[in-house]
Symmetry: C2
Subunit: 326 residues, 2 copies
Amino acid sequence: MFKLTLSAIFFSIAATSLCADPLPSWNAGDAKSQIINYVDAVTDPTSEDYVTPSDRIAVFDNDGTLWSEQPVYFQFLFAMDELARMAEQDPSILTSDTLKAAAAKDFKTVLAAGEEGLLEVVMATHSGLSVDAYQDNVRNWLAAARHPDTGRPYNEMVYQPMLELLSYLRDEDFDTFIVSGGGVDFMRVFAEEAYGIPPEQVIGSSGKTSYQVVDGVPTLMKDPGIAFIDDKEGKPVAINANIGKRPILVAGNSDGDFQMLEWATAGDGPRFGLIVHHTDSAREYAYDRDSHIGRLERGLDEGPDRGWLIVDMSKDWSRVWPQDDN
Amino acid sequence: MFKLTLSAIFFSIAATSLCADPLPSWNAGDAKSQIINYVDAVTDPTSEDYVTPSDRIAVFDNDGTLWSEQPVYFQFLFAMDELARMAEQDPSILTSDTLKAAAAKDFKTVLAAGEEGLLEVVMATHSGLSVDAYQDNVRNWLAAARHPDTGRPYNEMVYQPMLELLSYLRDEDFDTFIVSGGGVDFMRVFAEEAYGIPPEQVIGSSGKTSYQVVDGVPTLMKDPGIAFIDDKEGKPVAINANIGKRPILVAGNSDGDFQMLEWATAGDGPRFGLIVHHTDSAREYAYDRDSHIGRLERGLDEGPDRGWLIVDMSKDWSRVWPQDDN
């Protein structure tokens, strides 16, 4: 009798979850229907589009797809803050005008120094220490820093509808990976708590790393120099290197995601490409073709003909942030 | 009544599997006890050594740890066979004495050309084609080729006791990864069938890879040149890059595995280092300090003091191959 009761409870819970809306922060409409119809098709064993769970690989860009990226990538804001913090203890580290400008939060001067300037600021804060020490710095920064426009902690500026999509896919036996131009050591600090994505499913850019025994302690050191840039053509390369399978679902928001969308959706069988279009200046930001961050042009021009879903943030999402009621 | 019966069957199966020997091809003795005691300790929620499932990361070298590596790494035997096959169709590809010697299976001349010679043979067969085409070649080779000493298919020359260890760990909620100096695209062709390890849990060396759209088809191309050598100091670096966690159990067989053993077993809490010592000239091979392949010296000298288990293949394993009865 006791076991029968437990079974009854179990089946009742299962039935409830089958009927519940898996995407409550997505407005009823074409975008939401397309996603649900796709997931239904690839998970229904009687469907001709059925995909076995081991091949249900979904990959997500991070900046602008899972969390915000304005006014500039959050990792770069970390680098600026971190440089200022380091310079308080030792001003002699500011060995160039670019570094001095960064520590003074003078964006314009740093950006005027171009890619080389950005790299200088990143390297000054992302190398010459162990991976563990670096990740402690990121953790401390996330706990204290607040976004200049919203005043929120950065790791709360994640998109509620995308969190629901991640959970929905995992509930349907997808593996969900991040494939981002952001630094892998950086993202792993918060990805598990923010998105439910464990370190081994986070793929990103990386600096050179070496293994050293320092005073008898085996240590992974972050060295100067770039090991891999996980952007544009690099994204399919990184997916092949790290996963070894072609994803069946890809979500991005900028032309840096174009190639992984192109590669994944060219595979056999049913594929799903999704682009988050930032159209919401009221609740988040509105930008695309002319933005310095997250520029989206080719995806808008070619995406629809390629069958990719262009998500209109202002129209398709009933809620943007997890902390909001609307 | 029906449900009660199902429950009864379920509990009976669970009880059986709890009592069954998880390592039947390991002889009773210290090695087997150490493994089982360790796994019991880290999986028992009441133990002070308990490790949560998400941190139960186990990594295994491949050549000489999961399958044989004599008389030379199997991937190199593939390269020699592949070169001969290619030269049959187009002899003009044999542009050097080393390549001619390799296609003629003249080991000695190839080995005399040193590392550069080996690299030349590998590059001639591992670049200039797509990842998919390359993996088809590997698949065809595995289906047809036979080992020079045993006459067995190469993917049957896996160690039954290690297969049992992999299954046992997975049953106890470990994630099992390969971390090998072998090529990642090569190993992924057989690792899932041979070991139950899916592509996303195979980490290895890699050549340069590019993303190209070839005649309208998105393609990952294997290019000339090395991207990463997953050996020695490279192994902890690759584990950090791909998994982002320090493993709690590491198995290897050569000094190429020393650094990942050192790093993993230096972590907090209970750790397990295991070295397969090839002592079995009757059933497999016997080699260590003086071997050109799988040289094991530092591991033998320092391993026991570091608490690593040195597995004596001839003494600790009752069976070597899956196909044998003994």
